[in-house]
């Protein structure tokens, strides 16, 4: 007898076990939640599971992703999770298909999604979540969405036309910082971290280093500074970069006295030689590891280094030179073109960012954080623990079974509607404390937001300076980055402005390439100006909407560092929204403190532009407890900003 008959013997055909056995389930994400979910699915009688995960296993996963062992580090999460689960359940009727790939890949189109009865998300980034939301809407397959942060978690259910879709409610979007703040006038630790990860890192290590960027007027000087000279060791090069970035550049800035009238003046750091008491850059970099191949610079070059202790300027300078030398040595040995972006799992990159952040904080008299904390900010690391994932994994399966039962009832056209009513679908929020606050907080599912551009074909509005804003910025910064589109295409009122390159003729390609570098008003077909309407679509997501363009020539780059806004079409905002906003303001004015457990905490948060009642975004206040735990992400890699 096979295990399945043992496990399911004599259960009635209509039972949940039968539903689970017959169901085809797609899991997106095989990380913290994914491991728990796969286990709970298998032990709840599910036999047909497919899963997709792009990621590979890191040491820091092992504290909770129990299907992985140390020997699996570096391997595909999806494939190893499958292997581990099958090993534990050898000989059963279980079929697990694992895809080591990106859910945005063409093969995972709506047709693929239609094979499944339900899709379960255990993802760590907003972009992929939006993509799966659109895929499931296109395929008409229900979605159970989940996330955890520390002790907090949530499980939500999304069924097309019956409940709100994942994007009906605003989602926190990553906060961008004004470039001039990062470059010249940082005020907070996070500005120093972003300077290290976004500006200095690619300049020193990126494969395109040496190419001019439009970010810095001093490129000419810097090109010399940021290139290794012949016969120069990497350590000497690093010391030269130190002298430029933490001394010379600051001295130049100080000469612009008008900048410092309202601000505290920064100060140049001592020379490298002074800081390290005369040791040579090569001696410093070598430390206890003259081969420059150690995986960490901090431990090689600083005695009694501790991730919990703030680095002194001296030690930061040592780690800086040591990390630069090691990263360049590593890339050279690997014959790679360079390391383009900061990765929180790259120990040397973390050392580099810690050192730069510490030194820059010293320049600007900003409070300095420990290496541990800096890494947390730089990698946008979300804390995570097995317990919450286990709870959430269980909750997802329970909601999935409810969805399957509802589907089954619908297909049988049974009169027995009571199942759905006794166990309605829920959004469930997991809290950290069981007494007073309930540990689990279920709420009824929202109804679709009529102004949602994703599930309800509402239109969106782009506000920009049409004389400056290019089609390329619309494509990359607005549609891809802000809206999470994968392969957008743009139609003007009379002519096509941009198509995906596959299968196009050379002349078409040339036209669209040219359009990308053209400002909106100069585009073919009479130009795109205030009041124009564009048709935007993404075949891969089966997502299309109308985009209204509004011209605005004056911008405050402190308030809107992106120099454009993407939001719900304001012409569609009804009176009730104004009333709601006014109401919010009243609540605010009454000044109720959010101190007690039952009060709704008001948090300032950037919001995504998808839902028009959020209007301008930044003035919006969060309304309640549910968003309060809008936890999100299991893992953290480059994703939504959380509360600040």
């Amino acid at each position: 007898r096979t295990r399945s008959t043992r496990a399911h013997a004599m259960t009635s055909p209509s039972s949940d076990a039968q539903l689970a056995r017959d169901a085809k389930v797609l899991m997106v994400g095989a990380g913290g939640i994914g491991c728990e979910l796969l286990k709970t699915l298998v032990l709840s009688g599910f036999q047909n599971v497919e899963m997709i995960d792009l990621d590979t296993i890191d040491v820091s996963n092992l504290n909770r992703q129990f299907l992985f062992r140390r020997k699996h580090v570096g391997m595909s999460k999806a494939l190893v999770a499958r292997e581990s689960a099958m090993k534990f359940r050898a000989g059963s009727d279980l079929t697990v298909v694992a895809h080591h790939g990106n859910v945005k890949d063409q093969e995972f189109n709506p047709e693929f999604i239609k094979k499944f009865d339900v899709v379960l998300n255990g993802l760590d980034n907003l972009e992929a979540r939006k993509h799966v939301n659109r895929l499931t809407l296109a395929a008409g397959v229900p979605l159970v969405e989940s996330g955890t942060t520390g002790y907090l978690g949530q499980v939500t259910v999304h069924v097309k036309d019956e409940t709100a879709c994942f994007e009906c409610s605003p989602k926190p979007v990553p906060k961008s910082h004004p470039i001039c703040t990062l470059r010249d006038t940082p005020e907070k630790p996070v500005h120093c971290v972003a300077f290290a990860t976004d500006l200095l890192f690619p300049k020193l290590f990126g494969s395109k280093r040496g190419e001019t960027s439009d970010l810095d007027e001093q490129d000419a000087v810097e090109l010399g500074v940021f290139s290794v000279r012949p016969n120069e060791t990497f350590a000497s090069f690093a010391a030269r970069v130190y002298e430029y970035v933490f001394r010379k550049k600051i001295e130049v800035l100080l000469q612009r006295s008008e900048m410092w009238e309202k601000r505290q003046r920064p100060m140049a750091l001592p020379t490298f030689a002074e800081l390290v008491r005369g040791e040579s850059p090569d001696q410093v970099a070598a430390g206890s590891d003259p081969t420059l191949t150690a995986k960490t610079a901090s431990e090689a070059s600083v005695e009694s280094y501790s991730a919990q202790t703030v680095l002194t300027s001296e030690n930061a300078a040592r780690v800086f030179v040591s990390a630069v030398a090691r990263i360049l040595t590593r890339d050279k040995n690997a014959k790679s073109g360079g390391t383009d972006t900061f990765d929180k799992d790259d120990a040397l990159a973390c050392d580099f960012v810690t050192a730069v952040t510490t030194l820059r904080s010293a320049n600007y008299n900003i409070a300095t954080q420990s290496p541990f904390d800096i890494k947390g900010v730089a990698g946008n690391i979300v804390h995570a623990v097995a317990t919450t994932n286990a709870i959430v994994g269980g909750l997802i399966v329970l909601e999935a079974v409810k969805l399957l039962r509802a589907k089954n009832e619908k297909e049988k056209k049974s009169d027995d509607a009571c199942l759905a009513t006794t166990c309605p679908r829920r959004y469930t929020f997991v809290k950290q404390r069981a007494t007073n606050n309930r540990l689990l907080e279920p709420i009824e599912c929202d109804t679709p937001n009529p102004k949602c551009a994703v599930c309800q074909s509402a239109r969106l509005e782009l506000v920009c300076d049409t004389n400056v804003f290019t089609l390329g910025r619309l494509l990359n910064d607005a549609l891809k980055k802000k809206l999470g589109m994968h392969a957008p295409e743009i139609e003007g009122s009379t002519t096509t402005l941009f198509l995906q390159p596959d299968g196009l003729e050379d002349d078409e390609l040339a036209t669209y390439e040219n359009n990308l570098v053209t400002v909106l008003v100069d585009l073919p077909g009479g130009g795109v100006v205030g009041g124009s309407t564009l048709q935007v679509s993404d075949f891969s997501q089966s997502f299309e909407f109308e985009l209204l363009v509004t011209h605005q020539s004056e911008w405050d780059d402190e308030a809107d560092p992106d120099l454009f806004l993407l939001r719900g079409d304001s012409s569609g905002i009804g009176k009730d929204d104004e009333a709601k906003n006014a109401g919010k303001k009243d609540t605010d004015e009454s000044g109720n403190a959010p101190a007690s457990d039952d009060d709704l905490e008001i948090i300032e948060e950037e919001t995504s532009p998808l839902s028009p009642d959020l209007g301008g975004g930044k003035d919006d206040k969060k309304r309640g407890r549910e968003e309060d735990t809008q936890a999100g992400d299991d893992e953290g890699g480059g994703k939504a900003a959380r509360r600040e």
Binding site: A7, A17, E36, T40, L62, F88, A90, H383, R433, N437
Partner: protein, 618 residues
């Protein structure tokens, strides 16, 4: 006393545990790594809990279970293999657990749980925590007494069908790092000290008027609020007391004062109105609650209760933890006529629009005061140590600072004994009755679930099996029982091997008129025939008795019919999805207790998977 000091951790560990270190820190991790856990019964609920703890890096685990691995285990327990069939369950699970994290030591005991509890109670003395899963109430009561005698924490977990329970029991749990989900800054706007007042006076009246527009726009809002409160206070005949009842009018007048300060100082702002108010003024208005929040003078109930604890008058008792000395120091500090009932200043301030210079100055004032207050508390605590023949070195300055930083949420939890709960003593009956009468449906419903849980427990106690399971299996010959891994006469595990864990996961019985489906077809299995109507009637009778004992009448939340019927239908099933949730919550409680961080659940928690709710019911 271990405060958040420098604990040096190996880099390899730091990487592995990085994500959780961000929750409980290295000092929390160090405590976890000293934690020795004992698990009773290796069903899915207990194993899920222990899995989460092993992943987190506890010191060691010991599994107690005498069952053999059956096919049924493969259906709901992930940590047994096909190749383990017929072998000892504790040994099999221990092997797979060890693979999860080989820095954790594992062992197992192939003995009956009840035998260990009754015949070898000293076995439990060296553990930090005992996780008891699926144990009978009578076993738990004995175990609880043993654990209390050795100051071991007990976490009892059950899963039965769609319902789970979590119950912590311990003599005393000191809570210091409570880490509440919502915190507010402690700025003492309405009770500033002289240095803070002196600083604030630089930003009011003519000095404020004489500033440049830019300077005025950088006055930190905390300062603006201190001055606004002062003006509000001066306008009153008597000083505004810390427990002043703030009316809406009062709140509005504070805000008016803030705006007026800025309007009066700048003709331009006055002319343009609210829209022209600088950002720091808007911030002050948004944070005006600091002017009237009663954080001081009105201490949290849990802290007040703990400050009245008789233990504070018995510090001479040997081995009294220094926590109590610090608490006694705090109590004296609070009684100090100079201090009034004002807590030590916490010391950190939020980000606010300001010049760096002013911000740093303000930060220093708060930090200095915080250090001075902590030193005062520490000094008092050390004096008490000395008076009681202890060494002053037991409390460092850092310890005192750490204590004061968290003192507002400090308290002690003492759990009712399991025996008292079973016998409705020490307020247990009244608490449950009150939950059953609660206006909140969730509480009422979970309380009713709890009554059924207790009835099932009594049913098992007297009949040696779960309701809804075959009669002759449990009463049958021991060889047969062994075959199904059901080796305990108490019937701790499922009797029915065909009972699928995932069955009817979210489907409670529809109504009373819906009888359990044909026992003859559904419940016939390996063991024999079960008597569903008979078991249902018996269980209902037990429920009625329990309700009478706690003086509750009627049929709250359909406890007598719907919930009782469902309990019989579940027939001892331990579905994995529910076990995973209970195992997760249970492990989380263990972590809270061991790391001494966050606030553990002080009452009995009931989880209802169908409704996706939890409530604490008694």
């Amino acid at each position: 006393f271990v405060s958040q000091t420098t604990h040096v951790m190996e880099e390899a560990k730091r990487k592995r545990y990085d994500r959780q270190l961000r929750i409980w820190g290295e000092h929390g991790q160090a405590r976890l790594e000293n934690c020795k856990v004992c698990l009773l019964h290796c069903g899915p609920t207990g194993v899920e809990a222990i899995k989460n703890l092993v992943l987190g890096g506890i010191h060691s685990f010991t599994l107690v279970d005498d069952a053999l691995v059956t096919p049924r285990d493969l259906g709901n327990n992930f940590f047994v293999h096909e190749s383990d069939l017929g072998k000892g369950r504790a040994a099999s699970v221990a092997k797979h657990m060890h693979d999860l994290n080989n820095s954790v030591t594992g062992s197992f005991v192939d003995e009956r749980v009840d035998d260990v509890v009754t015949q070898n109670p000293d076995f439990f003395a060296d553990f930090t925590v005992v996780v008891a899963s699926q144990c009978l109430g009578s076993t738990l009561a004995k175990l609880d007494a043993v654990c209390r005698a050795h100051d071991v924490a007990l976490v009892a977990l059950t899963t039965h069908g769609l319902v789970g329970t979590v119950r912590v029991s311990r003599l005393e749990q000191r809570v210091l790092e409570a880490k509440p989900e919502e915190t507010d800054f402690d700025l003492r706007v309405n009770q500033p000290w002289p240095e803070l007042v002196a600083f604030a006076r630089n930003f009011v009246g003519t000095r404020f008027h004489e500033m440049t527009e830019t300077q005025r726009a950088h006055v930190p809002w905390a300062v603006t609020l201190i001055n606004a409160f002062d003006e509000f206070d001066s306008a009153k005949e008597t000083h505004v007391s810390p427990i002043h009842e703030w009316t809406g009018e009062d709140r509005v007048s504070i805000k008016k004062i803030i705006k007026k300060q800025f309007m009066d100082a700048s003709a331009q702002t006055a002319e343009l109105g609210d829209a022209a108010l600088p950002e720091n003024c808007t911030e002050a208005l948004a944070n005006a609650r600091h002017a009237w929040k009663p954080l001081h003078g009105v201490l949290p109930a849990a802290l007040l209760e703990t400050l009245a604890d008789p233990k504070l008058d018995n510090l001479e008792t040997p081995d009294t933890p220094v926590f109590w000395f610090l608490l006694a120091g705090l109590k004296e500090f609070l009684q100090n006529p100079e201090g009034g009932q004002i807590m030590p200043v916490e010391g950190s301030i939020p980000d606010m629009t300001s010049t760096t210079e002013w911000y740093v100055a303000l930060q220093t004032i708060y930090r200095d005061k915080s250090n001075a207050d902590a030193a005062a508390v520490g000094e008092r605590a050390r004096r008490l140590l000395r008076l009681n023949g202890r060494s002053e070195t037991e409390i460092s300055d850092e310890d005192a600072r750490f204590f004061c930083k968290h003192a507002l949420h400090a308290h002690v939890i003492r759990w009712r004994t399991v025996d008292d709960e079973l016998k409705w003593r020490n307020g247990a009956g009244a608490a449950l009755a009150s939950s059953l009468r609660n206006n909140d449906d969730t509480v009422k419903h979970c309380a009713a679930r709890y009554v059924v849980h207790r009835a099932v427990d009594l049913f098992r106690e007297t009949r040696g099996r779960y309701p809804g399971t075959p009669v002759d299996l449990s009463m049958g010959d021991s060889r047969k029982r062994k075959e199904y891994g059901d080796t305990e006469m108490t019937g701790t595990e499922d009797e029915n091997p065909s009972r699928d864990s995932s069955r009817d996961v979210s489907n409670p019985p529809k109504d009373v008129s819906d009888p359990p489906k044909g026992c003859s077809t559904e419940h016939v299995s390996f063991g024999g025939v079960c008597d569903v109507p008979g078991d249902t009637a018996s269980l209902r009778q037990i429920v009625e008795t329990l309700l009478t004992e706690i003086n509750v009448h009627g049929n709250p939340a359909n406890v007598l019919d719907v919930l009782t019927t469902e309990a019989v239908r579940c027939a001892g099933g331990e579905p994995h999805a529910v076990a995973a949730v209970i195992g997760g919550i249970g492990a989380q409680e263990v972590i809270k207790i061991v790391t001494e961080q966050f606030t553990p659940c002080a009452r009995t928690l009931v989880y209802d998977a169908a409704k996706a709710v939890t409530a604490t019911v008694l």
